[in-house]
Symmetry: none
Subunit: 201 residues, 2 copies
DNA sequence: ACTGTAAGAGAACAGATTGAAAACATATTT
DNA sequence: AAATATGTTTTCAATCTGTTCTCTTACAGT
């Protein structure tokens, strides 16, 4: 069923996913041509048709309601709940495929998932035991971001990262603990903290 | 069931949602024509009919009560964003009717709304400046719950409550501040904290 | 070089959508 | 009852927008 997309088709699809906010209405072929720098909607139509065949775009049978993706990506509003994270231990995965409702503004366009926090290692960042955090899956991070990092391939931690030439420093937010310095190879970034939720009942 | 709207229909619907405040009575077809720059109510009627079929607008069978939306839009997963709360000040209300997506597990069955936190008065409870809190509207609370309280009829605060015989004590979580003791009449409970959310981007 | 595929331009077409106008029907007011 | 206001229906023309075609160019690979 899932046809293989050509490079250009993939490009157009990515563009649609990225910029679906741009158009507050689904774009027409002409609008998309303009946005993509094409000058013939006939050409674009052929590409879109391929995306329709691939099941990625709603078919529009002569209707004029613009191009819309079949599933507004991240549609179900639910992200996978991957498991528990406790400082200094491997991430404890959950076996059954749990999912969790997450508001749009707590996540990014990227690939996100949810972890539950165990322990108080981030208490000074306002992240408490039992909080749910939303993590964007990424291999790299900017200095100052809070990352889920794997140290020495097994210990997971949630810390603010500082990457220098030849060293990676992880700053815990809890003042009882000290910053730890590692060689870059020791620290593997698994994701970046983008949101947090807490229930009081 | 949810029919797919044409672009114009979307536009009109969006307009209705946006400007429902404008008309303090639901607008008549003629008024809407004027507002939308149309000169024929017959044309508009056809569009509205489509919205009625889509279940977005109340059908009006020859009644003349104007056009009204079926559901105060965003009724499902969204709660009203009421304004800002900063310790020691009145709650700063927001004028336009903003709504915010809130996962089911961050709220209760009761009547809930969202506030944005200003300031660090709850920093030790893990509630930071800029966090969104979910509050259940209630007049009473149990000891130990965190409440939105109105002190002396004007100052709002977010504090852990302790109710004794003849006295109400509000415990701030920030150790720099001290618990305050009030007479029961002075403290009016406006709601109870049930959830909290934070975005890192 | 030859061939096949992907990509794009442009023209022309078909039918969906929109809007104006007028006539009609029903409710509300005078 | 008459007048007015408002919703409903119909007809028609103009325009917009998806669709189909043909032709051209570029590139990759036996």
């Amino acid at each position: 069923m899932s046809y293989r997309l050509t490079r250009r088709q993939q490009e157009i699809y990515d563009y649609l996913v990225e910029n679906q906010e741009e158009f507050h209405h689904p774009p027409t072929l002409d609008e998309l041509c303009l946005a993509l720098g094409l000058s013939s909607k006939g050409s674009l139509h052929k590409q879109i048709q391929a995306l329709i065949n691939a099941g990625l775009v709603d078919p529009m049978n002569n209707q004029r309601r613009g191009i819309r993706l079949t599933q507004p990506p991240g549609a179900e509003g639910e992200l996978p709940m991957m498991g528990y994270i406790a400082a200094g231990q491997p991430i404890e995965a959950i076996d059954h495929n749990e999912r969790m409702e997450v508001p749009a503004f707590l996540r990014t366009g990227g690939d996100c998932y949810v972890l539950e926090v165990r322990g108080d290692s981030m208490i000074d960042e306002g992240i408490l035991d039992g909080d749910r955090i939303v993590v964007e899956h990424r291999e790299t991070a900017c200095n100052g971001e809070i990352v889920v990092a794997l140290v020495d391939g097994c210990e997971a931690t949630l810390k603010r990262i500082e990457q220098k030439r030849g060293a990676v420093i992880l700053h815990p937010a809890n003042p009882n603990m000290k910053p730890m310095k590692y060689r870059p190879g020791q620290v593997q970034i698994q994701g970046v903290l983008v949101g947090q939720m807490r229930s009081y009942h």
